[in-house]
Amino acid sequence: MISLAGRDILHSWGKFVLTGIGLGLLIGVTLSMAGIYRGMVDDAQALLANSGADLWVVQQDTLGPYAEPSSIRDDAYRGILGMPGVAAAANVTYLTMQVREAAADAGADAGVRAMVVGFEPGQPGEPPYLIDGRRIARSHYEAVADAKTGFVVGDRIRIRRHDYAVVGLTRRMVSSSGDPMIFIPLKDAQEAQFLKDNDAILNERARTAANPALNRPGVPGLLEAIQGAQTVNRSVNAVLVRVGNNASASEVARRIQRWKHLQTYTQAEMEEILVARLIATSARQIAMFLVILSLVSAAIVAFIIYTMTLGKIREIAVLKLIGTRDRTIAGMILQQALGLGLIGFVAGKTVATLWAPIFPKYVLLIPGDAVRGFVAVMAICAIASTLAIRAALKIDPATAIGG
């Protein structure tokens, strides 16, 4: 038996291909939306994996350092380092800000939105690998940037009031919101995080000097000590901990929480915070888009197949009159809908693959999503064809006979 649907598609292939490409663009957007979600999850997992930590120690009762602000004293790591099972512990700071090239005028160039990470070289928190340049070797004013910032080795960038030389480039180091990371020495980052402008420092000093409780004539050196303390930052956002080979991360976490009064998260808990909480709203947003796009796709396929079927009323009436079974006619329409879906899916997958690198955020297209997408497209096309099948089966074969 010949394929009526196949012959019809071949006969009017131009219409089918153009319609399929139109549908494919919609499917491409749908696949890209799924890819954006996968990219966000992958970014979060890469962020955790590349930090080189087993535990995140943050301020008590917070979800820091990525999901909520967290501030702990920068000497807390010493006590943690001495606890059983802890192989390494290091301070880190995270600060999201605009970073621009040093030569650029602040007003003229908005720069790049980046997460500036303060870390201690050789400790957890350091970027695990470089794709260009070298690691930070000096104590101050050197930086390693993610390639997505657009900076290259040798660039000079400005973070707050200081200029930094980009000495290395890394990859796949982005914040949970997709901002590329720039790594600088911890001390510089602490300063940058709390550094006030000159006018504010002068005002603060004057305000402190005017306070009789802090500027006592009978206590020499008190005012200077207070003013000195005001300009030094002794806080970090988190302590990253690497546990020993034979130690249990959850056991070490429990001990730190109990004895140090700090919140401690294992990698699994931190992943849960990032994926299930931090990007949960974005995921729901994307899910809504996927549902809407699926409905729009279904409506378009239904409309196209229905219109095409109505355009063949006479032919269908003749087919029914000469004895074609309903299932043959239904099969023809169903196969056409599936054919349209197949063309659309191939077009959609192609365009999604082509335009994925252009997206500012990482778009991860995984084969599993493609398979699920294909099944969904076929199911949607099959469901959408029922309207046309119903219309075709209602056609009276008597309409083929005049009068």
Binding site: M1, L4, R7, H11, L321, G323, I401
Partner: protein, 241 residues
């Protein structure tokens, strides 16, 4: 009524009635239709608009159900105050050939497959179906257009392909609904010549519904239908030159 057919062969219609609607709104489209068409015979069915021609064709074609009466196609009684067969589609596919006012060829199938489609639907192999189709196309002088699309054919060629499609399953009966309406005199007579030749060769009973006066002289017998009743008349049965 003249009976020129062997009992149980060709078409036999007795006391056929068809009523549309019920109660006061009921309309009797067919009141008392009697018709006999012998195998190999081509008869005309003529009548003014609204006389019941199409209704009779639809009843005979098992498309609509009559209200009462009896119909036989070949040796099979298909209706006797109720359908005598459950699968009307199979009946239409296997025992009735249809030729329409317009050819209504399937636009996305080539000429061969338009003709071969019916036996394929009936379960015959593609190869056998196409071989049979090509035989008929050759007999109807359109073999050279076997691979053409319907849109590439002239009106006369399309109608010949439609005739081949009607004949392909070797049905005992062919119902033709104004098959010459869109054709000029020469082509119309050409179609009638083909129908007569094929009827004679295949012993098929053919009913041609027509308004076309130029083909009336070709019928040996004509049934007139008026107010839902049939009246038989001898035709000229003019031989084709």
């Amino acid at each position: 009524m003249t009976t020129s057919t062997a009992a149980g062969l060709g078409i036999r219609i007795e006391g056929l009635r068809k009523r549309y609607g019920e109660g006061g709104a009921a309309v009797d489209a067919l009141r008392d239709v009697n018709m006999v068409v012998a195998p190999g015979e081509v008869v005309g069915l003529v009548g003014p608009s609204g006389s019941g021609k199409s209704t009779l064709l639809k009843c005979l074609g098992a498309v609509i159900e009559p209200t009462a009466g009896r119909m036989s196609l070949g040796e099979q009684v298909i209706y006797d105050d109720g359908w005598k067969t459950k699968d009307l589609r199979a009946l239409r596919r296997d025992r009735i050939g249809f030729i329409f006012q317009a050819p209504y060829l399937i636009p996305f199938l080539d000429v061969t497959d338009n003709v071969a489609l019916l036996p394929m639907l009936a379960g015959r192999s593609n190869e056998d179906s196409r071989r049979r189709a090509l035989e008929l196309l050759a007999a109807l002088d359109v073999r050279h257009r076997a691979k053409a699309q319907p849109s590439q054919l002239s009106g006369g060629e399309q109608q010949r392909v439609a005739i081949a499609r009607a004949l392909v399953t070797r049905p005992p009966v062919i119902l033709a609904d104004e098959p010459t309406a869109p054709l000029d005199s020469e082509r119309a007579l050409g179609v009638m010549r083909i129908l007569n030749r094929m009827a004679e060769q295949t012993k098929t009973a053919i009913v041609v519904v027509t308004h076309d006066e130029k083909i009336l002289p070709t019928f040996k017998r004509i049934y007139h239908i008026r107010d839902g009743k049939t009246y038989e008349e001898a035709g000229e049965g003019r031989a084709f030159s």
